[in-house]
C-alpha cells in the first residue's frame, strides 16, 4: 500500500488535476455534441470516472481514506443509474426504432 501511494505521488498533483479536468471536459463536450443516446450516456460515465480518479488522487495525497470511500458510493450509484438508464433507452428504442435524440422532438413550444 505504501509503495502504491508513493507510486501515485511520483506524478505531481497538478498534473492529475489537469488530466481529470481534460477527461471531464471531453465528457461534457460529448454530451453536448453527440446525438446518439448511448454515446451521450458513455460521455456521462466518462465525467463520473474523471471524478473518481480525482477523488482517489486527492485521497492518496492527503493520506485520508474518505475520498476513496466516496469513490465506492459513486461506482455503486453509477451502476444503479446504468440499470435504469439502459432500461429507459430500450423502452425508447422499442417505440421509435431509433436512438437519435433528434427524433425526440415531440415536446416543443
Amino acid at each position: 500500500m505504501e509503495s502504491l501511494l508513493n507510486g501515485i505521488k511520483v506524478v505531481p498533483l497538478n498534473h492529475y488535476i489537469i488530466l481529470c479536468a481534460i477527461i471531464f471536459s471531453i465528457g461534457v463536450i460529448g454530451v453536448l455534441t453527440r446525438r446518439n443516446a448511448i454515446v451521450i450516456f458513455m460521455s456521462v460515465e466518462l465525467m463520473l470516472n474523471s471524478v473518481n480518479l480525482l477523488l482517489t488522487v486527492f485521497s492518496a495525497y492527503r493520506g485520508d481514506a474518505t475520498g476513496q470511500v466516496f469513490v465506492f458510493f459513486i461506482m455503486a450509484l453509477a451502476a444503479a443509474e446504468v440499470a435504469v438508464g439502459l432500461a429507459i433507452i430500450v423502452m425508447v428504442y422499442r417505440n421509435t426504432n431509433s436512438l437519435d435524440i433528434n427524433v425526440l422532438n415531440r415536446l416543443k413550444w
Partner: protein, 459 residues
Amino acid sequence: MNTLIIISVLPIIILYLGLYKAKKALLPVTIIGLLTALGFACAQWGNEPAPTFSGMLQFNNFSIAFSALTIVSTILILLLSKDYFERISDHVAEYYAVILFSLAGVIVMLSYHNLTMLFIGIEIMSVSLYILAGIKKNDFASNEAALKYFLMGAFSTGFLLFGIALIYGASGSFDLTDIRNWILMNPRHIDPLFYTGILLMIVGLCFKIGAAPFHFWTPDVYEGSPTLITAFMSTVVKTAGIAAFLRLFSTCFNPISSFWVPTLLIITMLTLFIGNITALYQQSFKRMLAFSSISHAGYLLFAIVALNSSSANAVLTYATAYSIASIIAFGVLILVRQQAGTDNFTAFDGLAKKNPFLAFTLTVAMLSLAGIPLTAGFIGKFFMFSGALSQYQVALVIIAVINAIISIYYYFRVIVAMYFNAAEPAEVAVPPYYTFVLGFSALATIVIGVYPVLVSGLI
C-alpha cells in the same frame, strides 16, 4: 431518524403487498406508514441533536420542518393517485414503492451533514424519478420525458460530483462543519480549486431545481411525464432541492458569501425573467405550470441570495404555499384532462358553470401562485422580498415585483377561461378523494394567508 427508517422500509412492505395481490391495502398502508413517519418526525421537534451516523446526517428542526412538508405533500399527491395508476398498468404496487423510495432520498437530502449524503440523497431521489417519468411505456411523450430527464439528470450529477471532488481536494473533508471551519481558519488563502468547486456545485444544484440557464429540460419533462408525477416533481422534489441548496450554503459556504452571491444574483434574475416571460406564450396549461415552476424556483433562490437567520423560514413558507397551490392545480388538471382530453387552456372554458367547487379551488390556487393578499402565496412572497430588502438587494426586489405582475396575466387566463368564456362543457365527475385533497389544500392556502404565524415562526 426513525422517519428515514420507516420511509425506507415502507416501500419494501408495499412491494410484498403487491406480490400477494393485496391491491385494496396499498393506499391505506402507504398513508398510514407516511403518517407514522410524520408523527416520529414531529416527536423529535425542538431538540437539536448532534450529527448521527458518524456525522453523516443531522435531524435538526430545519430537516424536520421540511420533512413534514414533503411527507404531507406526498400524502396529498398519493390520495390523488386513487384509480390513476390502475389506468396505466396492472402492477400498481411498484408505482407506490418507487414514489416512496424517491421520498426516502428526499429525506436524506433534507438532513445531510456530509456531502456524501447529499450526493446519495440526490441520486436515490433522481433515479426513482427517472423511472416514474417513464411509467407510461407506450406513450411517446412519457418516453421522451424519461430519456431527457435521465440524460440531463446524470449530466448535472457529473457537475455536482466534480464540484464535491474539488472542494474535498481543497479542504480535505466532506463534512459540512469541517469545511466551514476550514474556510474560517484560512480566510485569506482559499484555494482557487475551492471556488471552482462552489461554482460547479451551483451548476449541479441549479440543474436539479430547474433554475435558468439550466432549466431547458424542465418544461419538456414536466409536460411529458404523467400529470401526477409532474405534481410530485414540481412540489416535493423542488422543495427538497431548494432546501438542500439552502442547507449547504447557509451552514457551509456562508463565510465566503461575497464570492457566490453575485453569481446567484444573476441566476435568480435570469430565472425570473425566463420563467415568467416564456409562460406568457404557452397554450398548454401543464406547460404553463412548468414555466411557472421555473419562475418560482427564482423566487425561492431569493432566500439564498439574501442569506440571513430567517432564510429557512422564508423558504419553508414559500415552499408550503407553492406546494399546496401546485397540488390543487395539477389535481384539477387531471380531472379536466380526463373529461376534455387536452391540456390546453380551452379545456377550462366554462368550468365554473358545472363544477363551481373545482373552479373555486383552482381560483384560490392561481391567486396564491400569483401572490394575491389573503392567500399563502402572498405571505411567501412577502417574506422573500422583505428578506432581500434587509440585505439591501433593492434592484432584485424591483425586478421580482415586475415579474410578479407579469405572472398575474397568465395565472388569470385560467380564471377568465373558467368564469367568463362561453362554453357548455359536460360536468366533470369529482371523486371523493379529490374533493378532500382539493378542499383541504384550498383551506390551507387561505388559512396560512390569514394566519401566517402557523408556518412562519417554525424554524
